[in-house]
């Protein structure tokens, strides 16, 4: 197995200089990410009717900030992240508790903690922190551990605590993303497939109970998805207008800055969750599948980095963060094209918004760390030389 072959020669004394790190930095991966961001800034410029100052310029500044975060993060030591994984997770939980007690209420949900100069969205922090904690947990587990039920109880709890806190906000989209990311990590580390089916059957059995616990607006969104024409000016408005916007793009689209649906405000939130529709309207089917293709390449690249990492923590971390990124794409595009209910998940790297971009770049920085330190071997307890 080639990927298992221990390729590096300075195994015992694994300490990369800054120069080494810069040499090992994956510039191709960063280029793909920046490409999507630039496309996003162009679409935001168009969605604002050619106004640079409304969204595009701010998005660009956020990009610069996020980029510096990515570079700083990528220069850190992987071992360090492993060592503090649980602490970071714990801070994430504390922040979630704080936000549920003192958080700012926006759009009917408690999501932000204001620090004065910036707003922190603990649920975003949690998306990275949970993956990190789970990667840390499974790093030291054997296959037989993973296949035992008791061993799986702590990671399930690790997932359930933040999910419960986030559901309380309420933010169904983020909670579901945490569930799916955890599921994907369980899957890759080797939890038996029949257990997933068991959970799936159990969950569908509980569906009516879950339905009862959903908020009215959440129920409404699901019902609207099933039949948006029921209430075209009310709850169905978003989905109908979203489908009109995408559909009217046709094969080649109406052209850059020629979006009518977006420009004339038929679609609220066109610069955030529904930015994909503007892209589809202006660049058509070919444009939208090209962007989807770019996303797919980034996702595959993330998996590839996971593949070629030689330490388990790095693999799980890369895969978990990539799956997180992929879920954004699938949920958002599925949502705006009317396949999924409107759950408020932005299109990563394109939608206007600072926290998500920052979190994503932080995550990409971690993936870069995994890639730069791909040859590092980390022992079960977290020490480098523990073979």
């Amino acid at each position: 197995m080639s990927f298992f072959k221990e390729r590096n020669c300075y195994l015992k004394n694994y300490n990369l200089s800054l120069w080494d790190k810069l040499c090992h930095f994956n510039y191709k991966f960063l280029f793909l990410i920046c490409l999507v961001v630039f496309i996003g800034i162009g679409v935001l410029y168009s969605a604002a009717n050619g106004n640079w100052d409304l969204w595009a310029s701010k998005q660009f500044l956020r990009f610069l900030l996020s980029l510096s975060v990515l570079i700083v993060v990528s220069m850190t030591n992987l071992k360090w992240w492993m060592r503090y994984a649980y602490w970071i997770y714990f801070v994430g939980i504390v922040l979630l508790v704080v936000v549920s007690l003192f958080g700012h209420v926006g759009m009917g949900a408690q999501r932000w903690i204001s620090l004065g100069f910036m707003n922190i969205q603990p649920s975003e922090v949690m998306k990275v922190a949970l993956v990190m904690a789970l990667a840390r947990y499974f790093h030291s587990s054997s296959l037989s551990d993973i296949r035992s039920i008791q061993y799986m109880i702590p990671p399930v709890l690790m997932m359930l605590v933040p999910v419960a806190l986030i559901l309380k906000q309420p933010d169904l989209g983020t909670a579901l993303m945490l569930v799916f990311v955890t599921g994907a990590i369980f899957f890759v580390v080797g939890v038996q497939i029949w257990k997933f089916f068991l959970i799936l059957i159990a969950v569908s059995g509980c569906m009516p109970v879950i339905w009862m616990f959903l908020h009215d607006y959440q129920k409404q969104r699901v019902l609207t998805l099933l039949n948006p024409e029921n209430d075209p000016m009310g709850a169905g408005y978003h989905i109908i207008q979203s489908k009109i916007t995408i559909g009217s793009g046709g094969l080649l689209g109406k052209g850059f800055m020629e979006s009518t649906q977006g420009r004339l405000n038929f679609l609220p939130e066109r610069h955030t969750d529904f930015i994909f529709t503007v892209l589809s309207e202006e660049f058509g089917f070919l444009g939208s599948i090209s962007v989807l293709g770019l996303y797919l390449i980034i996702i595959l690249y993330g998996f590839y980095i996971g593949f070629r990492s030689n330490n388990f923590f790095g693999k799980v971390l890369a895969v978990g963060l990539t799956v997180n990124f992929a879920l954004y794409v699938f949920i958002n595009v599925g949502m705006v094209s009317g396949l999924l209910p409107v759950v408020g998940v932005p299109l990563p790297l394109v939608s206007y918004g600072g926290t998500v971009m920052l979190t994503l770049f932080f995550a990409f920085g971690l993936i870069e760390v995994v890639d730069i330190n791909k040859d590092m071997v980390i022992g079960r307890r977290g020490s480098i030389d523990d073979g």
């Binding site: 296959l143 037989s144 094969l251 089917f285 998996f303 895969v319 992929a326 599925g334 396949l339």
Partner: protein
Amino acid sequence: MSTLWKYERMRIISQRMLALILLFFVLVFILVARLFYLQIIEGDKYLQMAEKNRTAVRQTLPTRGYIYDRNGVKLAENRKTFLAVLMREQTPDYHKTLDNFRKIIPLDEEELARIEKEIKRKRAFMPIRVKDNLSFDEAAKIQLNAPDLMGIQTQEETTRLYPLGADAAHVVGYVSLLTDSDMMKNPNNPLLDLPGYRIGRVGVEQAWEHVLQGKPGKRKTEINAYGRTVRVLEEVKAEKGENLTLTLDADLQKFALKAMGEEAGSAVVLDVKTGEILALVSAPSFDANVFTMPIPKKVWNGLIDNEKNPLQNKAINGVYSPGSIFKLIVALAGLESGHITADRKIFCSGRVEIGNHFFHCWKRGGHGHLTLEEALMHSCDVYFYQVAQEIGSDKILEVAQRLGFGSLTGSMLKGEKAGLLPSKQWKKEKYDESWRLGDTLNLSIGQGYLLATPLQMGRAVAQIANGGYPITPHLVKERQAFVASDEESHPNEGDSLFLSFAQDIIGGNDDAVPIISSPENAMLVSGSVLPTSPAFPPLISETDEAHMASDLSYTEDMKLILSDSASMKSQGGYAENMPVSLSKTDATTSDTPPKLEKPAFKPEHIRLVKSGMNMVVNKVGGTGYKSRFNLNGQTMAGKTASTQVRRISMKERKTGVIAQDKLPWKYRDHAMFAAFAPVASPRFAVVVVVEHGSGGSKTAAPIASRIMQETLRLYPNQTGELKRERAEP
């Protein structure tokens, strides 16, 4: 061992990652398939929906055609007025704006309540009518105070103006805002959906609505999700309505209404050769201009409660027993039947006994022996009782029908009544009673069931005066189509500085109020003389007893006579003048083969009746003698009539009939006078009906005489087409 679990773990994670990648490929494929479905398969549908989202097509109001009298005097025109609107989104505090506005232009409580109501209903960027019908000065004042009037804008509007006011209100009509029932009646007329569209009511405005209204324009605009206009995508200009030139003479019309004085009734002046209506007056009248704007309740109630019924056009909608005027018809019928000759005398003893009923002459003691001419001159009832008994009612009705009684005249005015010619069959159907001799006698003096409109009487007299040629009374002389000129494509450019200033403030977002380009921008291109009434299909609608068949036969007759100018020359001598405007009748009747026919009556019969009418006015003892005149040798002939509106009982006859001026107004007799002039070569017919005017000779004849004299004064030259000596536009 440790290497083994490491190895096993790494193998599993790689396998699982591959499986996950496979799953992601499937998910991406689902998304691509979904996009393919939305954008390629359903793309056209969604493109149309997006297009529908973003565009709004609005109608724009066309400019209504003008109405002129025969001399070019404006009877109905459009006037630019200004409208003050409030754009709520442009003011931080609209209460303050309105308060400041009231300091400049007063608003009453009713108006304020309406504005408040509209503010609650409409979105912030929709203009709200604050005050309409503002003059230029008022609009300028608003502009000057603009800093205090945040959110107030002035916009141009078109209002219909009737320069003659009350003088021609019934015949010209008026326009007013639509009611729900208008929409119901015309579900397919796009014009009626336009806010601010005013539809023609009564008179020419109503009857020629389809000609005057023009075609609405279309403005396709791009709108945003809130309905605000972003820009105009394409525009089709509104087509202006045609101008109409009427046969009326504004001066004569004014004079005639004035001549009616305080009386209720109507006056009609006809050109006996062409059927042109020179004046059509109904008194009392009302100011047509009050109807173009929302009418104040007080004014409305005043019109409704008036017992003289000013809103009714009595000339076409009022039906009366024609009374003694009908004796002209009975005389013609008697002559045609051969029972009456010029020399035959009939004795009047004052009454006739039929069965056990007495039929009285209006003159107690009777007139003695009378010829036909003398009988007409004295309006002897007994003479015509005798004639009627000899010839029977059928013959009278047949002649009456030929003269146009019982059918619409063809004036095309809506609301015109056909009157009633009571036949034996009609009475059977209506009352289930057989026709009695008494009915015939009542018919012979124009009483009983018989009913006619003043215009019908005028038509009958005109046809007697012109020698028996059928005519169609009509109002429209010419139609002139408007054609838009090039400058019109920029409706706002040609306007005054003031308006461009206003436009700046509005910022072009005048979406709710369609732009009406000024009529000055349009050129009057063709003034072609279009066929008058016969070219338009008669708009007989729900009018009750419309005797369409007989009406049609007249159109035919008219044409037949016209096509035979040779026979006209030999018999009447009117040939050189007759076909002036009637020659264009072939539009409707060209499909029927022309056949030669003589005038409807024999010239010697007509001559005898006319001679009798001449004696009424110009011979001592005639009932209209007091109203005679001699204007440069031109005299008038006529026939008086007084018709009872109440039954005179036996008891009253014995004790003496109560004098008319002792009766309450509404029980007095209707007074009528039908005349033509000049006697030697008749050109004009005048009919005056004074409701409850006591006696024809006393009230109606003097009015008719004055109107006729004015007509002769205005038109001293009576050959060819009637033209005023000096045109006074």
